[in-house]
Amino acid sequence: MVSKDELKHLGWLARLDLSEEELLKYESQIDRIIQQFDILDRLTLDTLEPTHQTKSVRNLRIDEAKNFGENVLPKTRNRKDGYLKGPKSDVKQ
C-alpha cells in the first residue's frame, strides 16, 4: 500500500506540490499501478544480467574545446549581470 504520507514523501523527492485533491486521487491510482508491477515478483532471473549497449573508449569524443557560438538561453527572464536569478538557497549568506 502506498499511504498518503508515502505519497507526500514521493512528492517531496520529486519536488511536486500535490493538492489534497490530487493526493486523494493519486493515492488509489498509484497503488493500483504499482500492483500491476508486482507481476515482476513472479520472476527471479538471478542468473540474468541487464544488457547494455557498448562503445569502445577509442570511439569517444576527442577532447577539443569549441564555443557554442549562439545565445544558449535567449528567453531566460530572470537575469542579472550575466547570472541567472534563482530563489533562495539554503546556504547561509
Binding site: V2, L7, L10, G11, W12, L13, A14, R15, L16, D17, L18, E22, Y26, Q29, I30, R32, I33, I34, Q36, F37, I39, L40, D41, R42, L43, L45, L48, E49, P50, T51, Q53, K55, L60, R61, F68, E70, N71, V72, L73, P74, K75, T76, R77, N78, L84, K85, G86, P87, K88, S89, D90
Partner: protein
Amino acid sequence: MSRLCDLSLDEVTDGIRNQQFSAEDYVSHILERITRLDADIKAFVSVNTDHAVESARRIDSKIRRGEKVGYLAGITVGIKDNISTKGLRTTCASRVLADYIPPYDATVIRKLKESDAIVIGKLNLDEFAMGSTTEFSNFGPTRNPWNLDYVAGGSSGGSAAAVAAAECTASLGSDTGGSVRCPASFCSVVGFKPTYGSVSRYGLIAYSNSLEQIAPIARTVSGVVRLMNVISGVDPNDDTTRTVASPYSVESNRNHHRIALLNNLTVNAQPEVSKCIYSAMDTLSSAGCICEEITLDSLEFALASYYVIAMAEASSNLARYDNIRYGFDLDPEGYEWNSYFAKVRSNFGEEVKRRIIVGTYVLSSGYYGRYYLKAQKVRALLRREFKSLYSKYDVIIAPTMPILPFKIGEKIGDPIKIYYMDIDTVISNLTGMPAISIPAGFSNGLPIGLQIMSDDFQEQRIFDVALLFERTTKIQVRSPL
C-alpha cells in the same frame, strides 16, 4: 482527378523535380488544407508558414536554374513538438515549456533540411509523449480524421492525424512504447519504429531515453523508407547511434518470407482486430510467405517492465524543468528554493505527475532490485527469446493495437486501461528491435493496423514484407477529408 495533397511522398518529390507542379504550389495547397481542416483535427500546435513558403520558393528556383535538389525536395514534414527546432517554439504540449525556443536543431531536423524537406509545423502530442491518446495535451486532444469523435491514438497523435488528413506529406513522431505505431494504426497510416540506435535522438526531448526512437510516419511504406534513408545513421552528437544498413530499398522481389504470428497478442485483442490480423496473415500466405503461429509466455511481463523503466527514466528526465533556465514568468525572488521548485513543477499535467511519482517510487531506496533491476532483466530475457525466434523467422506479425480507436474521453479517467493499450507495442521498445504498423483494414470505419517486427537492424526485412502487403491489399491511402 487526384488532389495534390493525396500524392505519396515519392509522387511529390518526382512531381516537383519534373516541374509538373512547383514546390510553392504544393506547399500553398498544404497550408490551405491546414487552415481549413486543423481547427477540427487539432494536429498542429505551430505552423511554420513563412519558412515553408520561403523554402518552397528556394527549391523552385534551384530547379528552374537546373541545380541539384535534395532527396526529399519539396515534401512537407510535420514534426512532433518534442523534437527541437531551432528558433521554432518546442513545447512538448506542456505548460512548463509553453514558450521554450530551442537554440539548436535536432539532428533529424538538420538532416531533413539538408535534403530540402520543408518543416511545415509542429504537431500535437500527449504532454512529454506520455500517453496513448493525445488527450493529455495542454493544447487539448487531436481528433481522428476518420471520425472526429474518436481519439487519434498517441502519443504522436498529431503526427499521425496530420498525415492521415493530408495536412503534410509525412511526419516525424517519437516511439517510446508504441507512440508512433499506435496513432499510425488508429489513423490508418504507416508508422515505423527503427532499431534503437538507428536514428539520432539528439534534440528529441527525452521521456525514456533507453526505449525511444524518433520514428517516421507517411501514407505509404516507401514514404517511410525514404525518410529513414535521410534520418538514420551514426551521429557524433548521440553516442548511442549505430551504423545502419541504409539506404533501404523499396524494390522488394522476395515473396517467400518466413513469418510467425504472435498469437498471445491476437488472443487478447478485440475480436474485430484479431480477425483482421488473421486475414492479413492469409493475405501474406497467399502472396507466397510461409506463415505459422507462435506463443511466447514471457510477454506477460513486458507491459509492467516497460512502465517501470519508462516512468523511472521519466522521473529523472523531467527533473530539469525547474523554471530557472526557461519556463513561465515567476520571479524567484523571495522564494525558498525547494518551495519554488515544487510550485513551478506543479504545472505539469495530471499524467506526467502520475508518472513522475511512480517513477520516483520504483527507483527509491529499497525498491530498485524489485522493480527497476527486474524490469531491466526482463528486457535481457525478451531480447534473448526474440533473438532465438529471428533465427527461425524473418519477421513476426501481430496487431499493433489490441483495440479499435475509441471515443475521446472514454478512457481518460482510468490510467491503467490506457496503459494496457500499449501491450503489443512495448515489446519492440524493450528489445530495441524495429517494428512497423501498416494499415490492415477497417472495422465500422475505424482503422486497424498490422504490426510487423524483426531483428536488430533488419529494417529491410520489415520493409519488404510491408511493401508486399501494401501492394497486395491496395488499402486506400487517400485522405478521408
